[in-house]
Symmetry: C2
Subunit: 324 residues, 2 copies
C-alpha cells in the first residue's frame, strides 16, 4: 500500500506535466490558469487510494485521476459564473479575470478534456467507468440546480438540503473512489461498498464545509468567515436552526439574513449568537460524526485486509479535522 503523501506526489507530478496550453490561446489560457491554481486534490487522491486498496497499478489510474480533477475544476468554473463569484482560491475567477463568454467556453472545453482523460483506461473497464462518470456528472449538475433553486424557495427542509449536497458534492467523491476500484478489478460488492463509504464521507465533508464557513479560521480558509450568512445561503446550520428555534428566533434569523440594511458583521454576530444558543455547532458536529461512522461501516465491509485500509481511514479522518 502506498502512502497518501506518495500518491499525492505521483498525481501532482503527472498533473504538472500536462501542457494545457494549445491554440487558440484565448481558449486554453483560462484553462491553464484555472488548473494551475492548485487545490486539495481530494478527488484524484481518492481515486488513487481506491485503486491502491485493491492492489491496482497507480500508473494506470493516473489519467482518470487527472480527468476527475479537471471535471471538478470545470464545475467550479461554471459555478463561479452562476454565483457571480469574483474570488476562488485567493485569485480572481475566470469569469471575473476574463469574461462571461470565455468562462462558459473554456469550461465546456474542460468538460471535454475531463472525458478525454477519464477515458484513458484499459478498454475492458471503459464502459463501466464511463457510465459511472456520466451519471455522476449529471448528478452534480442536478445538485447545482437544486442549490440555485433553494435560493428562491422558503420551504427548503433539511432532507432537501441533504439530497442536494449528496448530488452536488458527495457523489463525485464516491465516484472517484469507485473508478479506482473498478480499474483495480475489485468485485462489484467491494466497489459498491467503497462507493457508499465515499458517499457518506462526502456528506460529512460538505457539512464540515458548512461548519468551517462560520467556525473556521479566516487565514486558513483563504476566504472571509460567514460568507454563507452574508449571502443568505440555506445551509445545514441555518435549516437546523430554523427547525428547532422558537418563533421569535426564527423571525430574527430570517430577518438577519434578508435585511439589506444590516452590516455584514452584524448579520454574522446575530446569527452566530442564535446558533450558539441553539447549540447548532454541536448538533452539526454530531451529524458529521454520524455520517463518518456510517462511512467507516462501509469501509469495514470491504473484503481486503484491514491494514490495507489505513491510508483511506487516515485521509477520511484528516478531511474531517481539516481547518480549510
Amino acid at each position: 500500500m502506498f502512502s497518501i503523501q506518495y500518491l499525492k506526489e505521483q498525481f501532482e507530478s503527472a498533473f504538472l506535466n500536462v501542457k494545457w496550453l494549445s491554440e487558440p490561446f484565448t481558449l486554453y489560457q483560462p484553462i491553464d490558469y484555472t488548473l494551475s491554481l492548485g487545490g486539495k486534490r481530494i478527488r484524484p487522491l481518492l481515486l488513487l487510494l481506491g485503486n491502491d486498496l485493491f492492489g491496482g497499478k497507480t500508473d494506470t489510474a493516473i489519467m482518470p485521476a487527472i480527468g476527475i480533477e479537471i471535471f471538478h475544476n470545470f464545475t467550479l468554473l461554471h459555478d463561479d459564473i452562476m454565483d457571480r463569484a469574483a474570488i476562488r482560491r485567493g485569485k480572481e475567477t475566470v469569469y471575473k479575470k476574463w469574461d462571461l463568454n470565455t468562462a462558459i467556453l473554456s469550461g465546456d472545453t474542460m468538460f471535454a478534456l475531463a472525458y478525454d482523460y477519464t477515458s484513458k483506461v484499459n478498454p475492458s473497464h471503459l464502459q463501466e467507468v464511463l457510465e459511472l462518470f456520466t451519471k455522476t456528472a449529471r448528478q452534480v449538475c442536478e445538485g447545482q440546480q437544486y442549490d440555485m433553486d433553494f435560493e428562491h424557495r422558503d420551504d427548503v427542509r433539511i432532507k432537501d438540503y441533504l439530497h442536494m449536497i449528496r448530488l452536488k458534492t458527495a457523489v463525485l467523491l464516491a465516484c472517484s473512489l469507485k473508478i479506482g476500484a473498478i480499474l483495480a478489478n475489485a468485485s462489484r460488492e467491494n466497489a459498491d461498498n467503497l462507493y457508499l463509504f465515499g458517499l457518506n464521507l462526502g456528506m460529512a465533508f460538505q457539512l464540515q464545509d458548512d461548519l468551517l464557513d462560520i467556525y473556521g479560521k479566516e487565514e486558513k480558509l483563504g476566504k472571509e468567515i460567514g460568507g454563507d450568512i452574508v449571502s443568505g445561503k440555506k445551509t445545514y446550520l441555518f435549516l437546523k436552526a430554523m427547525e428547532i428555534a422558537g418563533t421569535e428566533e426564527q423571525t430574527l434569523l430570517v430577518d438577519s439574513l434578508t435585511d439589506p440594511t444590516l452590516a455584514q458583521v452584524e448579520k454574522i454576530t446575530i446569527v452566530k449568537e442564535i446558533y450558539g444558543h441553539l447549540r447548532i455547532k454541536e448538533i452539526t458536529e454530531k451529524e458529521i460524526e454520524n455520517y463518518f461512522v456510517c462511512a467507516l461501516d462501509f469501509l469495514d465491509k470491504i473484503k481486503v485486509p484491514d491494514e490495507n485500509k489505513s491510508e483511506l481511514k487516515l485521509l477520511a479522518t484528516s478531511l474531517l479535522h481539516r481547518q480549510f
Copy 2:
C-alpha cells in the same frame, strides 16, 4: 440501402420516444424544450447514412445518432448565450426564455447526456467512437472561440475564416459520418475517406449558410435576411470582398458594417451593392462547388459499390441546394 426518408423517420421516432424530463424540472424543462424545437437533423442522418453505407445495422447506430444531435443542440444553446441571441428556430432561446444560469447548467447537462447516448455502442467500438467524439467536441469549442475572437480582430484572412468554420461546423458533420462507419466495421481507409467527404461537405455547407444569410429567402430561413451584415460578422463573403475590392470600396464596406448611425436596411443595401459589383455571390458559389467536388472525390474513393452511395450523394446535393 435505406432511403434518407426512412432513416430520418427511424431517427425522429427514436428521438421522440426519449423522455427528457426528470428532476429537478427546473433543469430538465429547458432541455426538453430545446430538444423539442426540431431542426434539420443533418448530423444524426449523416451518422445513420454513414453506417448504412457499410451495411451497418441502423438500430445499433440510433443511440449515438441521438447523442450527436444532443451535442449539436448543446453547442447552439451555449452559443446563444455567447451571442446574446434571443431567437432560435423561430422560438425564444433558453437564455432568453429562462435566464443565464439555467442556460449554462442545462447546457452542461446536455453535454453529459450527449456522452451518455454517444457511448451506447458495442463495447468493441467504444474507445474509437469516444476518442473521435471528444476530439471533435474540443474542436467545436475551439472553432467557437476563433469565431468570437474574430469579432475583435481586423486582420482576419480567408484562410483563418476557413480554419474557423472547419472547426466550428465541418468536423462535426465529418465525425457523425465516421462514427456511423466505425459502428459498421468499415476499414480505416474507408472511414477516413468518409470523414474527409464530410469535412469538405461541411465546408460547402457553412459557405452555403453564409450565402443564404444574404441571398436566401426570409420566409424559408425563418430569420431575417442580412443578419451577418447587421451584426458585422466577418463571413467568407465579406472577407473575399475585402480581398478583391479597391481601397475606396474597402473603406465603404468597413464603414457600412461599423457605422452605428446607419439603418439596418441601408447597411444591407450598400453591402449587397458592393458584393454585386465584385461578383461575390458567383465567387462564393464557385468556392462551394470546389468543396463539393472535393467531397465527392473522397466519396468516390470509398470502396463500396457505387449504388450504395446514392443516398449520401442525394443528401449532399440537397444540402447545397437548400433554401434554409
